[in-house]
């Protein structure tokens, strides 16, 4: 990129007369290197401090899933007997209303997969 001539002259002047920094104290390099030696080594192979978030993340998710699954199982087992009792009651009521006393000999165990089949299989 070309500069206007007046900028060229200015830059040339600035470069020719730029302030010269005072010389460093003789021990400066030694002091810097000593400070570097004292300082912690660049922690390239160490985990950063915030890495515990990442380390804890997956176990936390796993623990949450386990707790949720356990809760669901417990809730299901707690709820199931009440639901089964209600189903028994409905089935008995329905069979009684349809078959009357003829149905006494039928099985009403809803836990058996074919308990309704026995009802349909018997003629009126």
């Amino acid at each position: 990129m070309t500069r206007p001539p007046e900028d060229d002259r200015l830059v040339e002047f600035l470069r020719s007369h730029q302030p010269v920094p005072p010389p460093a104290r003789p021990a400066l390099e030694h002091q810097i290197m000593a400070a570097v030696e004292r300082a912690e080594k660049p922690p390239v192979l160490q985990e950063p401090h915030r890495a515990w978030h990442r380390r804890a993340f997956i176990p936390a998710i796993a623990a949450s899933c386990l707790v949720a699954w356990g809760g669901w199982v417990g809730w299901r087992d707690f709820r199931q007997p009440a639901e089964l009792a209600a189903a028994d009651f409905l089935a008995e009521t329905w069979v009684d209303s349809v078959y009357g006393e003829e149905a006494y000999w039928l099985s009403f165990d809803p836990a058996e997969p074919d308990w309704l089949f026995s009802v349909y299989a018997n003629p009126y």
């Binding site: 007046e6 900028d7 002259r9 200015l10 830059v11 002047f13 600035l14 470069r15 020719s16 007369h17 730029q18 302030p19 010269v20 920094p21 005072p22 460093a24 104290r25 400066l28 390099e29 002091q31 810097i32 290197m33 400070a35 570097v36 030696e37 300082a39 912690e40 080594k41 660049p42 922690p43 390239v44």
Partner: protein, 191 residues
């Protein structure tokens, strides 16, 4: 393009910045000494032009300590010199802030004019003029002028160092040169 730096004494190729950084990251402080010797002069000159001579050694030390501590965060794809100037700029602005607080409590710091025995008077006079001219600029304008016109840092790199858009760098450079030219002309310098 890969630039190979030769040892002035042995004429053997010196390790690149990247190689030195890798060695530093393995804990080899001797490699850091090479980096320091390679870059201390431009860092020193830049800090001097931005902050003056007062406490310059401490500023240089602060820059290189921050470099050492920050090496693990240095991205391998980046240019080391750009990153180094960025740290120097941060140190300079921190110093500027501290000076601002101190100045509000005490009298203004006089412009230093340090004589270097062997230089002719006209040279010292012009150096003093340039130094005073730089101090008339805001730190943002001064930084662009120093980095671009004195340290020969490309404008794109300056944009990264100062974390401003490239257009801002161009604009600041234009205004800084105009202000500098005006100051020098007022002081009787014919450009």
């Amino acid at each position: 393009m890969t630039l190979t730096i030769l040892d002035p004494e042995t004429q053997e190729p010196l390790p690149s910045d990247r190689e030195l950084i890798q060695q530093c990251l393995q804990g080899q402080s001797a490699a850091f000494r090479v980096l320091y010797r390679r870059y201390q002069q431009p860092v020193r000159a830049t800090l001097h032009q931005l902050c003056g001579a007062d406490g310059l050694d401490d500023l240089v030390q602060e820059v290189f300590l921050r470099v050492w501590k920050g090496l693990p965060k240095f991205r391998a794809s980046a240019q080391f010199s750009t990153w180094l100037y960025r740290i120097a700029w941060n140190v300079a602005t921190d110093r500027r802030r501290q000076q601002g607080k101190a100045r509000s409590r005490s009298s203004p710091v006089p412009t230093e004019s340090r004589a270097h025995g062997h230089q002719p008077l006209t040279q010292l006079h012009y150096q003093d003029l340039v130094q005073r001219g730089l101090q008339t600029l805001s730190l943002d304008h001064r930084a662009v002028l120093v980095l671009h016109d004195l340290e020969d840092v490309p404008q794109k790199a300056i944009a990264k160092i100062l974390q401003v858009p490239l257009g801002t760098v161009k604009s600041r450079l234009h205004h800084a040169r105009a202000a500098m030219r005006q100051f020098l002309q007022q002081e009787g310098v014919q450009l």
